[in-house]
């Protein structure tokens, strides 16, 4: 059909408008495809590694090692596979440490990605990211823990996919902590404190009922963690789950904006070509032929947008997968997991939506009689909407009245400008809040609350008096079947200040318990509510009242006086399992684990660069979307108002004045939309955090500060300014003859 030629020529003529909507579509599809494919690859790698390398269903550590015959009896009784695994933490330099395990054959099988498994004494295989960050290579001989060790290969362990030193750690930092495997002989020769854990594997990946208490009757459990509660295993699952909502929400919103823009362009095109359509109908063109012709615009935008988005998205998924691979210690068991559903959804859904909605718009025009289309459109300026009849719209200077009327008459444009600004604001503030929350989390947790330097956990219950340090009891209990850490502390301790908005809650421990923010969010409780704690080992119950919620953002914790905790747990009154202290423990005897606060803070510091980059990335993305949407809209506004603009020019108005009359009209919408969006952004991120808290076990503080509001405002106004200056060029190009031409038409 010869009419097809008009499509390419019109698109060429209005290249900026069509390129803008196509770019929005590309961004939507690219974002969806890249994130989906990267997540699919991550999921596939995780599933394969978990399944084929027999990831544990649980592991435990007890105060006394269980003899082999006891383990065998438990295996038979509970139909599980149990395997003993020894490990030691050794320092590789002042700041970093390596957890060396002996290789296993039944559970948590090590995967060697490069090199070989260590076979001889003095040989080790280490995590590739740890080697990379610390400058180690295969074949290097390194001195660590009093041992000259030769690196024989790179290893991945199924129970250290998220490579954190302590279960309570939030961030993995391969530069300060890594894992490795070595021979049993080498491990025995090391000078450190050897620990033993029992790894369990079951077909169902569930912990058999009664196993936990059965083990506890043989030897006191120091730790029993199921894979469901294991942050090193679970974090990747949470990331996959969290990403799912991002994968759909963000691209869907951009897709919505893009389709709205296409429809607006189509409406404009049909409006401009009313007479042409009427002529073609009068000549005898069938409606379906004209429909096919006008759908051509949507086909071109849709096909170019989706195809480019698919290709770019698939390409981008590779570096994204690699990024995930370094973030999570997962071997590249697959490189590119092709999910046909993602491609089909990424291609079909945008195209179907775009075409079907465009068809509705086209059909509306095609329903009109050819004669009506051939006649000039009836002047609608005489009709006033209820908004225009408002008295304040008809007061003031001509410029004011003209601007307000334009604003009121282009409700759809105003609405889309509102939406575009809202989208950019929410995205921008998400970035700023995340950025700030990391700083606030570190400041609150490690400076305001935790006043100690080290938390030392013993492998058996202690009763010896500690004058200088703060002893405390820590145990796992359940509330409504959710696992919770019970902290029995000295209320007057100087090492833990349970702060809430600047107030210290330690004194309130006499009135009830203090809980952490994640626990409050999971259980949906606050001060004054009651909680019932259950001792996991004997099902003893304890109902307590919540005296306050402290600004502890990590972990589901309940803080009670130590004597009360000991009483509930059945420990002696003066017992404790751990100690907070300012100095590194001199001896590791009887020590099961040491938490070093400075190390955790350092890992936060080292990841702040990545956070800054992602915030910057989000800001650029927000600005890009904002510029595209706002420029498209202001461009259309200039196009629609070109006869008025021309007339103003003819009458002698300066370009600045014309711009003020027509373009800057939307400034109040931009400002209002920005300020309305702030609570939405804050609420949105808070909701996201609350949704994920059960899986992640932490909550980020989501306060919006004055500097965020200011920065956000400046960025949004800059975005608006860029759009205006781009559209002013178009305004300048409106010729003086335009007014006359339109009058003739």
């Amino acid at each position: 059909m010869i009419l097809r030629k008009t499509i390419s020529r019109t698109i060429k003529e209005k290249k900026f408008q069509y390129a803008g909507v196509t770019l929005l579509l590309v961004l939507a599809v690219m974002l969806y495809v890249s994130l989906s494919m990267a997540i699919t690859t991550l999921e596939e790698r995780n599933d394969t590694f978990t399944r084929e390398y027999k990831q544990e269903a649980f592991h435990w550590m007890s105060s006394d090692p269980l003899p082999d015959e006891e383990l065998q009896a438990l295996e038979e009784q509970f139909e599980v596979t149990l395997e003993r695994r020894a490990y030691q933490d050794i320092s590789t330099d002042e700041n970093s440490s390596l957890r060396l395990f002996e290789p296993t054959t039944e559970v948590n099988l090590p995967f060697i990605s490069q090199g070989e498994m260590p076979e001889n004494e003095g040989e080790i295989a280490i995590a590739e990211t740890f080697a990379d960050r610390n400058g180690f290579n295969i074949g290097d001989v390194v001195s660590m823990g009093g041992l000259e060790a030769k690196i024989t290969g790179y290893v991945f362990l199924p129970d250290y996919i998220y490579m954190i030193e302590q279960q309570t750690d939030l961030l993995a930092d391969a530069s300060i902590f890594g894992v490795g495997v070595t021979t049993s002989e080498t491990l025995a020769a090391l000078s450190g404190n050897e620990q033993q854990q029992i790894l369990g594997w079951t077909n169902s990946n569930e912990v058999p009922e009664g196993l936990r208490s059965a083990v506890n009757t043989i030897s006191t459990l120091l730790q029993f963690i199921s894979s469901e509660d294991n942050a090193r295993i679970q974090f990747v699952e949470s990331e996959i789950e969290g990403a799912q909502s991002l994968i759909t929400t963000l691209p869907l919103f951009i897709l919505g904006l893009s389709i709205a823009m296409v429809l607006m362009l189509m409406k404009r095109r049909l409006e401009l070509q009313r007479k042409e359509i009427g002529t073609l109908m009068a000549l005898g063109y069938r409606k379906r032929e004209l429909r096919r012709h006008y759908l051509g615009y949507a086909w071109i935008v849709g096909l170019i947008g989706t195809m480019t988005g698919l290709v770019l998205g698939a390409g981008l998924s590779l570096p994204l997968s690699d990024l995930y691979a370094t973030y999570f210690n997962l071997p590249a068991l697959s490189m590119f997991d092709f999910d046909p559903v993602v491609l089909v959804v990424g291609f079909v859904i945008p195209l179907v939506l775009l075409l079907s909605l465009t068809m509705l718009v086209v059909n509306r025009t095609l329903k009109t009689e050819p004669l009506t289309l051939l006649k000039p459109k009836e002047m609608s300026s005489g009709k006033k909407s209820w908004l225009e009849k408002l008295p304040w719209l008809n007061k003031g200077s001509f410029i004011r009245r003209f601007r307000l009327r334009l604003l009121v008459r282009s409700k759809a444009r105003s609405f889309y400008i509102f939406l575009g600004v809202m989208f950019s604001t929410v995205l921008l503030l998400f970035g700023l809040i995340t950025f700030n929350s990391m700083d606030r989390l570190v400041e609150t947790t490690y400076e305001d609350i935790q006043k100690y330097e080290y938390a030392v956990h013993y492998s058996s219950i202690q009763t010896e008096d500690r004058d200088d340090d703060s002893p405390y009891t820590m145990a796992e209990v359940t509330i409504n079947e959710e696992k919770v850490s019970l902290y029995g502390i000295e209320p007057d301790t100087d090492d833990l200040h349970l702060m809430s908005e600047g107030e210290r809650l330690n004194d309130q421990l006499t009135e009830g318990v203090v809980i952490s923010r994640p626990l409050a969010a999971i259980q949906k409780v606050g001060a004054g509510d009651e909680l019932t704690l259950t001792n996991s080992f004997n099902d003893k119950k304890w109902t307590v009242q919540v005296a306050g919620v402290a600004d502890v953002f990590i972990g589901s914790n309940v803080y009670v006086p130590r004597t009360e905790a000991n009483d509930f747990l059945g420990y002696p009154e003066s017992a404790y399992t751990s100690v907070w202290q300012d100095d590194k423990p001199a001896s590791m005897e009887n020590v099961f684990m040491v938490e070093d606060k400075q190390k955790v803070m350092a890992s936060f510091e080292s990841t702040s660069g990545a956070t800054r980059n992602s915030v910057l990335g989000m800001s650029v993305f927000a600005v890009l979307i904002g510029v595209i949407v706002l420029t498209l809209l202001t461009n259309l506004i200039v196009e629609e108002n070109s006869p008025s603009i021309s007339l103003f020019k003819v009458m002698g108005y300066h370009e600045k004045e014309v711009s003020k009359l027509v373009l800057n009209v939307y400034t109040p919408i931009v400002v209002v939309s920005y300020f309305i969006s702030i609570p939405f952004a804050s609420l949105g991120i808070e909701q996201t955090m609350n949704t994920l808290v059960q899986q992640t076990g932490f909550i980020f503080p989501t306060d919006v500060t004055w500097w965020m509001v200011l920065i956000g405002f400046l960025v949004i106004m800059m975005t608006y300014g860029i759009s205006l200056s781009l559209s002013k060029r178009k305004l300048k190009k409106v010729s003086l003859q335009e007014a006359l031409k339109k009058q003739q038409d």
């Binding site: 010869i2 020529r9 009068a282 005898g284």
Partner: protein
């Protein structure tokens, strides 16, 4: 007789007022002739042309064109009718601005089972040399020539011309009239011209005069004059 109009009425509603655009209008258009419908603005001449061309409905009476009764045709059938038999020429040309002269004419050619030759048609209207020009590069008269070529290439049974010279100066207007006469004589196409220019009636084989929706006068012109002799009003 290709076009027979019998007692046709057409009422428009404008707010609460009924406007009788056509009142009991009856008319016979002889085959292969030029017929001019004269009348002032609002006399109903455009409505009559639109009814005959199948782009407007009527409220009573009958219209038979090329053997088809238009009153019973559905939208799709009317489209097929226009596609097969009618050629429209408008006062404002209504060319597609993003298509060249040749492409604009091709828009009409695509609709026909039995189209005329492109080069021949464009040569006949004197636009072959400018076939690659876009509408904005042409004068008003040239644009109307292209519009005539677009209507003509379909090889229609009749041409319906709504004020074809209304936007043109005398010289250009007469050139267009000459072209219409040439088309009538060369292809045997029935040409209906509506105009408020009384002088154009002198070149037609039949003249119809309208006023307030009624046909007030109808006569055969035994000696149609040459277009160049038309008195321009």
């Amino acid at each position: 007789m290709t076009i027979v109009v019998e007692r046709v009425n057409k009422v428009y509603q404008s707010g609460e007022v009924d406007i009788h655009a056509l009142r009991e209008a009856s008319l016979n258009v002889p085959d292969n002739k030029i017929v001019t419908i004269l009348g002032p603005s609002g006399s109903g001449k455009s409505t009559l042309l639109n009814v005959i061309g199948g782009i407007d409905r009527f409220d009573g009476g009958s219209v038979r064109v090329a053997g088809q009764s238009l009153e019973n045709l559905k939208d799709g059938q009317l489209t097929e009718f226009r596609r097969t038999y009618a050629g429209f020429i408008f006062q404002q040309y209504n060319l597609i601005p993003t298509l060249t002269v040749e492409e604009n004419v091709e828009v009409g050619k695509e609709l026909s089972q039995n189209p005329l030759d492109m080069k021949d048609t464009l040569e006949k209207v004197g636009m072959w040399d400018k076939k690659d020009k876009f509408p904005y590069q042409l004068s008003g008269g040239e644009q109307q020539r292209v519009a005539i070529a677009r209507a003509l290439i379909k090889n229609p049974t009749f041409l319906l011309c709504d004020e074809p010279t209304g936007a043109l100066d005398e010289e250009t207007g007469k050139n267009i009239l000459r072209l219409l006469k040439y088309v009538n004589e060369t292809y045997g196409t029935t040409v209906l011209i509506i105009t408020h220019n009384q002088g154009i009636g002198d070149m037609a084989h039949k003249v119809i005069r309208m006023s307030s929706g009624e046909i007030v006068e109808e006569y055969e012109n035994e000696n149609p004059i040459e277009p160049e002799k038309v008195t321009w009003a």
